[in-house]
């Protein structure tokens, strides 16, 4: 490894490191604009000039362009280099509008920092400044081109890194323009990163525009709860309002970037209808009163109907602590164990995924970039977990082949092979891949039982005659790959798939240099929910138990059972039958409005808690503020407020964990039940090893990956027994799917994210559309069991035949389906006028 001297300090760094990065390791931040660790060197801004005094390179050179070499002696402070850098800043400031007082970037602006630290103060240029016309780039990004210093970061991120092309550079010389060919919303779901990456105020955050300076904000490291990836963010709050999110570097998870759903999906915390005080039977009550009422009524039901009459539903968006506390409450009270999924099928799939995610197989998004082939099974990354799409693109830029087995018209910002097959055929596709991509002898060598498994796979694959043809070159590519990764979704796939995907990954691992497994789960803490779910299948679903009278009281903890539930009327009727419905939540959900007792909870931004992302990585979200109703909502938009008090307005929300502990103590009359839950202990009981001495509190970037100690048996015969691919002629199965914007629970409550929603439409294959006499752009009336939906039609080539794809869209009253999977016929799909 080369050894060099930078500013009289010796450093040894790996071959291929740039001098600018080596200096950074010494704590020397060489000024830069175009260089960015994620984008690499460019050499355009000329700001990082340093003087090479000795060694193989001599003279003034750009430190981002020169690889370290043995014997280099570098000075970052030599007068020649300083004078040059000062001139560069002067050049960049020639046309800059000096509008820092009205620029949102002011206060955390790299250009400000470099101008001040570089010593450029007196303006020598007397010419007129160049001016540009700005564009409306949609709801997220404010454009102000006059501030541009032409560092090219935006274009490089947008086009090269993220793979979208509707923002670029136009013109030449000092008239070079960064924007779109015409005004309009940016098409990339990663556009918000332009705000983070722009070294000055060309792209600023529109929803938080003029809401405060960096130093006005209370800020804290937090996590994104808008999908299962657990991207790291920084939250900024001011006047009790959550104002803005920025990406936070986590080199294992999201790198430097986050998606727009995460960046703009946080405003549910400011929701004007957010429950902010406890209520009992619709009337406001003090906490003590509400807890007392809850405990009294729970006791009464227990005495009347027994302990089994109380059911608890947790969720996939609540913290590990709350999940564990809920489980403890149920145990202490002798209630049935809590559920965390209202959809039993999703529960089974998620639990299978979590139990199969062996620590030797699990890969992070960062690890995925080293793969040479990535097979995505039953997942639509842009719609389900956008940052995964960005990771896939990085893998491809490093040479990986991408393939997607999914019924939807998946689009990725990277070239990939798409095999659009119905979910029911994913099984035969995976079996065909196992049979063709993993040699028989390798399977035999490993274990005689596996040969049998292999043969069974071959039989399943043989049942589906067309599958080999549709997979095309994929089996061969998989056989040739050295480091494949299997990405498996858990939403649209049948229950056998997560386990089969794990089998494939495990078999590949035995014959390849390396192989990885990456699940996409449903919910920020779905992993934790699966860990803390009861190991045995509960008797009857939640709704059945209510309907048959087994459940008389229901405790909902940060969950809305209406979310994703297909039959709204049935659920409403069921909840109405309950003698007692208690809701602990922060979202103004329909279930909340039906609750007898409402106990307002804190969001993840108001309390410290842990969450486990889809790879089992436990991360910490730190509180950014105390909570309370945003000042703008109580003061009528004026400041300072006109009413005064000694309490925090709207600040009565409590951490769900504490609420459950208080309830536990009240119910049992034992004060020790109020103690905080020992999370690690609870997890260990579930067979999860957690490094106890982890320095959780020292550094917000600390995270630990956990996995279940006794994973479900691989190659289980159960996986391949049930076969179900009965296609009725002329029938279409309805596939309910997620969209980037408009379907996810939390971001659907965020006004900023709502602005990016597309109107929902029904997607189908071209042949199916022809059979139904429909074309793209037509309007249809879709007759579901209990509802009629009017929506547009999109015809796609790369879609599985025989399915109709419908988003669980907020703007769509889709929750009137009594039977899942829903089958539709031509009579149900009626063409109508716009």
């Amino acid at each position: 490894m080369p050894e060099l001297i930078i500013d009289q300090r010796k450093i040894v760094v790996p071959e291929g490191t740039k001098v600018i990065a080596a200096a950074e390791q010494l704590g020397i931040m060489i000024p830069r604009f175009c260089y960015h660790p994620a984008l690499g060197s460019l050499g355009a801004c000329r700001m990082c000039a340093v003087l090479f005094k000795e060694g193989p390179v001599k003279g003034l050179e750009m430190s981002c362009m020169v690889d370290v070499q043995d014997g280099m002696v570098v000075s970052t402070t030599d007068p020649e280099a300083v004078a040059f850098r000062k001139w560069i800043v002067e050049c960049l400031m020639l046309n800059h509008p000096h509008d820092c007082p009205v620029c949102d970037e002011g206060g955390h602006c790299l250009l400000q920092d470099e101008t001040v630290s570089g010593g450029h103060g007196l303006r020598r240029y007397r010419g007129k400044k160049r001016t540009y016309t700005d564009q409306n780039l949609g709801p997220f990004i404010q454009h102000e081109m006059n501030r541009c210093i032409h560092c090219w970061r935006c274009r490089r991120f947008y086009q090269e890194y993220a793979g979208y092309h509707d923002l670029g550079a136009f013109g030449i010389g000092n008239r070079t323009y960064f924007g779109r060919s015409e005004e309009g919303a940016l098409s990339s779901p990663f556009s918000g990163n332009l705000v983070d990456i722009c070294p000055t105020g060309v792209f600023t955050d529109k929803p938080s525009r003029f809401k405060g300076r960096r130093w006005d904000f209370e800020r804290a490291p937090t996590l994104c709860l808008n999908c299962s990836l657990g991207c790291n963010m920084v939250a900024s709050t001011r006047y009790r309002e959550l104002v803005r999110m920025e990406a936070r570097l986590n080199s294992r998870v999201n790198g430097y970037f986050i998606c727009d759903r995460g960046r703009y999906g946080f405003q549910y915390a400011n929701h004007p209808e957010r429950p902010r005080r406890p209520t009992v039977d619709g009337a406001a009550a003090a906490w003590e009163e509400a807890l007392h009422a809850a405990s009294e009524r729970l006791q009464a039901i227990r005495e009347k109907n027994g302990r089994q009459a109380v059911a608890c539903l947790g969720s996939v968006r609540t913290s590990l602590e709350s999940q564990a506390r809920l489980a403890l409450l149920c145990r202490n009270q002798g209630w049935p164990e809590p559920l965390f999924f209202s959809d039993p099928s999703l529960s089974r799939k998620t639990r299978t995924a979590v139990s199969r995610l062996d620590s030797t197989l699990a890969v992070s998004m960062k690890d995925m970039e080293d793969a040479d082939l990535i097979l995505v099974v039953g997942s639509d990354p842009i719609n389900e977990a956008p940052m995964l799409a960005l990771a896939l693109r990085q893998a491809q830029r490093r040479g990986a082949v991408l393939a997607v087995l999914d019924p939807r018209p998946v689009s990725l910002p990277a070239a990939f092979q798409h095999v659009p097959i119905r979910p029911s055929r994913l099984r035969s596709a995976l079996c065909a891949l196992i049979t063709n991509a993993v040699p028989h002898d390798a399977a035999k060598l490993a274990d005689p039982g596996r040969l049998q498994y292999h043969q069974r796979c071959a039989r399943v694959a043989a049942e589906d005659r067309e599958i080999m043809e549709q997979l095309a070159a994929l089996p061969v590519q998989l056989r040739k790959s050295r480091r494949p990764v299997i990405v498996c979704g858990t939403d649209v796939v049948p229950e056998t798939i997560p386990s089969l995907a794990a089998d494939l990954a495990l078999l590949l691992k035995q014959v390849k240099d390396d192989a990885g497994l990456f699940y996409v789960l449903n919910g920020a803490n779905a992993f934790g929910a699966a860990l803390l779910s009861p190991p045995d299948e509960p008797s009857g679903t939640m709704i059945e138990n209510i309907e048959n009278g087994n459940t008389r009281a229901l405790l909902l903890v940060e969950t809305d059972p209406f979310n994703r539930f297909p039959d709204q009327r049935r659920l409403r009727d069921a909840l109405a039958r309950l003698e007692l419905l208690i809701t602990v939540d922060y979202l103004p959900s329909p279930a909340l409005s039906m609750a007898h007792i409402v106990l307002p909870a804190c969001t993840a931004f108001e309390t410290k808690a842990h969450y486990a992302n889809q790879e089992g990585r436990i991360q910490t979200a730190w509180p950014a503020y105390e909570g309370g109703t945003p000042l703008s909502q109580v003061s009528g938009g004026t400041h300072p407020p006109r009413s005064f008090g000694d309490d925090l307005p709207g600040g009565e929300s409590r951490n769900a964990c504490r609420v459950l502990a208080d309830l536990d103590a009240k119910l049992s009359g034992r004060e020790e039940n109020r103690h905080p839950v020992d999370l690690w202990n609870r997890l260990e009981e579930r067979g999860v090893s957690v490094p106890r001495d982890f320095p959780w509190d020292e550094n917000p970037e600390v995270s630990a990956r956990v996995s279940v100690r006794t994973p479900e048996q691989p190659f289980s015969p159960g996986t391949l027994s049930a076969t179900h691919d009965s296609v009725t002629d002329g029938a279409f199965s309805l596939l309910l799917v997620e969209w980037t914007f408009g379907t996810e629970e939390l971001s659907s409550c965020s006004p900023a994210a709502r602005q990016a929603e597309n109107p929902p439409f029904l997607t189908m294959h071209a042949e199916d559309a022809a059979a139904l006499g429909l074309a793209s752009g037509d309007m249809v009336l879709l007759h579901l069991d209990d509802t009629r939906l009017k929506l547009g039609v999109q015809v796609a080539e790369k879609t599985a035949k025989g399915i109709l794809i419908l988003p669980r869209h907020r703007q769509l009253d889709w929750q009137g389906i009594s039977r899942i999977p829903a089958m539709l016929f031509k009579k149900h799909i009626e063409r109508t006028e716009a």
Partner: protein, 436 residues
């Protein structure tokens, strides 16, 4: 008069036909090379001849060709650079008129030498007439079996396409040019080597058309003959000198490499215009340095000019007389360069408009003493730009401040241009005091 090589068939207003080119031995060299020589032998012949690139840098052509490794991937490309946008330079245009087939034969031979199968001529869009001449000639060559598969019965395949540029100066730079052809934003890029990852990521040779036109002659008549054409040591061939400015007969002349400047001005161009005396010239296009009377008799070749701190460039000589304001002349060049900067790096994108503003002010009589050291500093800083463009653009400014500092000071002192030149820069806020 010395021998004409490139312009042997040149008649103003008329394009040399294939017939005429063949009568003069055209395509014989190709036939001979394909029959007798391996590609390595052909490369050796060119290397031995000492042919140097005529696009400006003067890089030995043989060495460039040898840069493609034997085992480098196929296909490989020959790129003929006819994106002639250097101010004062018009030799390529003339050459295309003089003999399109000479360029085609040169490209085919270059292709043979490096095992390339595809040739592309990148031509300036304002040369539409010349592009059509080339297209017609390429079609003729195809008909005659000089292009296509199994050229002249050999196993060698080669074809040529004419690509019209979008029309920006920076596209003349090789790496920007290949980006332009690939439909990308043209900008210089130093992250790859042309001979390894050029056009479409494949080995590519970029040569000026004048360079390529010499190749058939060298093949036919040998390196020794080529060297004998030139004046002085270490020189080879003739050179197309473009001369413009205050001379009697501006134009493009073919003369031995190393012909003296005085000879070119006085004999070829017929001397200075009546009443004009030589004050200075730019010897190699707009990005070379002003040459004063001191070097009036200098030999016009790469090494001699380099020895006096100047550059041969494209061999475009722009002559200024005693009544020309050199501040104005330099400003005129900077106006061009500031407009044509690709905008990629800061010193060029911002430094040139800054320089332009200062020069405009000096020329308009608004100059200040402090501008002079500032301009000097900026000329130095611009040498640290990403590519050679800004450095080239700063060269005449640097020369102005080195050799004609007194003239600049006079502008500042008298608060007007002593030559009384007038300019208009609408919208800049700079008033030209000389206007009244």
């Amino acid at each position: 008069m010395s021998e004409y090589v490139l312009l042997q068939d040149y008649h103003p207003g008329r394009t040399t036909s294939l017939e005429k080119y063949r009568r003069r031995g055209g395509y014989e060299g190709l036939a001979e090379a394909l029959r007798k020589w391996s590609s390595a032998e052909l490369r050796q012949v060119i290397t031995d001849s000492g042919l140097r690139g005529c696009g400006g840098a003067g890089f030995p052509t043989g060495r460039k060709w040898e840069g493609i490794r034997q085992d480098a991937p196929l296909p490989r490309y020959i790129l003929a650079n006819a994106d002639e946008m250097e101010p004062g330079t018009f030799k390529d245009r003339l050459l295309i008129h003089a003999s399109p087939h000479m360029i085609i034969e040169g490209m085919i031979l270059a292709g043979y030498a490096v095992s390339a199968q595809k040739g592309i001529m990148f031509i300036r869009p304002s040369y539409e007439t010349q592009a059509r001449i080339m297209e017609k000639a390429v079609e003729e060559a195809r008909q005659e079996g000089y292009l296509g598969t199994h050229i002249l019965g050999s196993g060698f395949d080669f074809d040529i396409k004419i690509h019209r540029s979008g029309g920006r100066y920076i596209c003349g730079e090789a790496s920007a040019q290949i980006k332009a052809i690939q439909g990308m934003r043209p900008r210089p890029d130093k992250t790859f080597h042309m001979v390894q990852h050029g056009l479409w990521g494949k080995p590519t040779i970029v040569n000026n058309v004048e360079t390529l036109a010499f190749v058939p002659h060298i093949v036919r008549k040998g390196g020794a003959w080529f060297q004998s054409l030139a004046e002085g040591e270490n020189n080879g061939g003739t050179k197309l000198y473009c001369i413009s400015g205050k001379v009697r007969r501006p134009g493009c002349y073919e003369a031995p490499m190393g012909t003296r400047l005085s000879e070119i001005i006085e004999e070829l161009a017929g001397g200075m215009l009546p009443g004009c005396t030589f004050k200075a010239c730019l010897p190699g296009g707009a990005s070379s340095s002003f040459m004063t009377r001191e070097h009036y008799h200098i030999a016009m070749d790469f090494d001699s000019l380099k020895a006096v701190g100047n550059r041969m460039g494209t061999g475009a000589i722009i002559v200024f007389d005693q009544n020309t304001c050199l501040v104005g002349a330099t400003l005129n060049l900077i106006e061009y360069f500031a407009r044509e900067s690709c905008g990629f790096c800061t010193p060029c994108r911002e430094g040139l408009p800054f320089t332009r503003d200062l020069l405009r002010r000096i020329e308009a009589g608004e100059g200040e003493e402090s501008f002079i050291p500032l301009l000097k500093d900026m000329c130095h800083f611009m040498t640290h730009a990403y590519c050679a463009f800004a450095q080239g653009a700063a060269t005449p400014v640097h020369a102005l401040l080195t050799f004609f500092e007194e003239e600049v000071r006079e502008h500042v002192r008298r608060k007007k241009c002593p030559y009384g030149t007038t300019h208009r820069w609408p919208g800049t806020g700079i008033e030209d005091s000389c206007r009244n």
